[in-house]
């Protein structure tokens, strides 16, 4: 399954794949930001691969340098019972990433969560607003420079 997948991706999208790695039998592919939609619709519509289910999207801070972020998509194929991880690297000065809600509608809430926690903006998202924190909150909690106890005064409390 892994060889078939890599063959198909290499023939169609050779320039978009930056690198791939394997750890504990899980394949992770890092792709370029601009080609997410093409690769994802190919993965979903191909009859052999058929990655019809998106299980998880999360934002993360890159392990190598704290200024770069990543968006991680965990895909699952119900037919082949195979998991795949797609990663996209995002720089701190250009936090726009194309959305995958048109391909898998379940990405709606998950991308809102990534926006709420990291500030990664998803282009063409139907309804990009904060989901966990109140709308007036000005910071992005999961970034490494935000303290665990929060910034005093950033959230209002009712009076006694």
């Amino acid at each position: 399954m892994k060889e078939k997948l890599l063959d198909k991706l290499n023939t169609s999208f050779k320039n978009s794949i930056e690198s791939f790695s394997e750890f504990r039998n899980e394949l992770t592919i890092i792709i370029k930001k601009a080609d997410i939609e093409k690769i994802c619709s190919f993965l979903r519509d191909d009859a052999e691969l058929s990655f019809d289910s998106l299980r998880d999207i999360c934002g993360a801070v890159n392990r190598a340098s704290v200024d770069r972020y990543e968006v991680v998509n965990n895909l699952y194929s119900l037919k082949n019972k195979y998991r795949l991880r797609l990663k996209v690297l995002v720089d701190a000065d250009d936090m726009n990433v194309p959305t995958v809600t048109r391909i898998w509608p379940t990405a709606d809430f998950e991308e809102r969560e990534a926006y709420d926690m990291y500030g990664i903006v998803f282009d063409n998202h139907p309804d990009l607003r904060r989901i966990y924190m109140p709308e007036e909150f000005e910071y992005y909690p999961l970034r490494k420079d935000f303290p665990l106890m929060g910034i005093p005064g950033s959230l209002p409390l009712p009076r006694k």
């Binding site: 750890f23 998106l54 801070v61 119900l78 665990l148």
Partner: protein, 416 residues
């Protein structure tokens, strides 16, 4: 005092005069109403806020609003070691705390590459299935109460109290157990616990039949549940639904059978699938799952092998307290593991189990330190709530309650 009152009156009059209060409607009866089913509501399972646009009693659209229980789990996990996070995983899906413990520990052990002895794996299967039973008992009680049958709530809690007695003997705690440890379990299972489980399982099928007969032969229950909250097979896969909701819409998928973890490949069980896709189908799927869990528990207890419960890896597995207070090596290992963590290799894993609500997954990125670099919890309730607008389009307000009951969201895991 009187002067102050006069001042206040003057202020109010001035405010009323200045604001324009003219509003025109073409036809006052032709307007949509936005109803707020607020965070505090007897029928929502936890604190979720639903904003519903209504035309009379028919729902036009629905928007869920989450975040009222956001406790910052992912940020907490980045600041504490892998062992310290185990009690926090109890509070995610707080109806079945043992299942969350098992899911988290499996992900950490996959990352660190630790093998667990078979006795511990069988005991973890027993824990996970007991947790599924307990969670479905609460689901049964609350869904029946929402639809109108309050008796079944008390019967469900009677059974749940018996399971909590078993947890008391097995783990020491009634509710938030924190039972699993990296490399095994906190303590071994005793013969008293096994006999309690056997006694409980022998009388459970009769209680389940009693509860089911009260509901399923009732015309009102069938009318309130049949055909409500329909979601098709393609929509269910596209919206990322998992667990009983997916199986009620006709997709034959169960992580215990398709991607077996622990010892599920050596156990024999059947996966119930219904094709109707409505609230009644989900009810039947969960009742069948309860019965299958009873079968799995019987098999696991019979096949329980003897042996050690913790794996023999002194640098990563916490030693027993009696040895820590007496022996030098164990003292040093205990100190290193508690203060500096287990330091797994650099990498990332994603591991998921079939929890009672769906697929509960943990995605851990490690940088080689004692604390995880990133921990993401893929919670089934968060994803299931997204499908509420699709299920309720064109329905009525009273259907909202029945559909939420069948969805069984737990806000502890949806809001993390």
């Amino acid at each position: 005092m009187e002067l102050k009152q006069q001042e206040v009156h003057q202020k109010i009059l001035k405010a009323l005069e200045s604001q324009s209060t003219t509003v025109t409607f073409d036809d006052p009866l032709e307007n949509d109403m936005v109803l707020n089913m607020g965070p505090q509501h007897p029928a929502t399972h936890g604190v979720i806020r639903l904003l519903i646009r209504l035309d009379g009693e028919t729902i036009l659209s629905l928007v869920p609003d989450l975040g009222y229980l956001h406790r910052g789990y992912e940020k907490l996990a980045e600041n504490m070691s892998y062992h310290e996070f185990i009690p926090h995983t109890d509070r995610l899906d707080y109806l079945s705390p043992l299942a969350n413990n098992v899911a988290y520990i499996l992900a950490v052990e996959k990352l660190a590459g630790i093998e667990v002895p078979p006795r511990a794996q069988y005991i973890r299967v027993i824990c996970a299935e007991l947790a599924r039973l307990a969670s479905h008992m609460v689901w049964l009680g609350t869904m029946a109460m929402d639809v109108g049958a309050v008796t079944v709530l008390l019967w469900g809690f009677r059974e749940r109290e018996k399971i909590q007695d078993i947890w008391d003997v097995l783990t020491g705690v009634r509710f938030t157990t924190s039972f699993t440890r990296i490399g095994g379990l906190a303590q071994d299972i005793t013969p008293q616990a096994i006999s309690m489980i056997k006694d409980f399982l022998s009388q459970l099928p009769a209680s389940l039949n009693e509860c089911e007969n009260v509901l399923v032969r009732n015309r009102i229950f069938i009318d309130r549940c049949e055909g409500i909250g329909y979601i098709s097979k393609e929509d269910a896969i596209a919206m990322g639904l998992t667990g009983p909701l997916l199986r009620a819409s006709g997709v034959d998928h169960d992580l215990r059978r398709d991607e077996p973890y622990l010892v599920y490949d050596q156990l024999d069980f059947h996966v119930p699938v219904y094709t109707d896709g409505d609230v009644l189908a989900r009810f039947y799927v969960r009742m069948q799952e309860l019965r299958e869990s009873i079968g799995i528990l019987h098999q696991a207890i019979e096949k329980l092998p003897s042996g050690l419960v913790n794996s023999a890896n002194p640098k990563k597995v916490l030693p027993k307290k009696e040895r820590v207070y007496g022996k030098m090596e164990e003292l040093i290992h205990d100190f290193m593991i508690v203060n500096f963590g287990i330091n797994p290799p650099v990498g990332e894993v994603y591991h998921a189990i079939e929890a009672s609500k769906g697929e509960l997954g943990f995605y851990i990125q490690s940088k080689g330190e004692g604390c995880p670099w990133r921990l993401k919890i893929r919670s089934p309730s968060f994803v299931n709530i997204q499908s509420l607008p699709i299920m309720l389009k064109g329905g009525m307000i009273s259907d909202v309650v029945a559909v939420i009951g069948s969805l069984d969201p737990v806000m502890g895991e949806a809001d993390k």
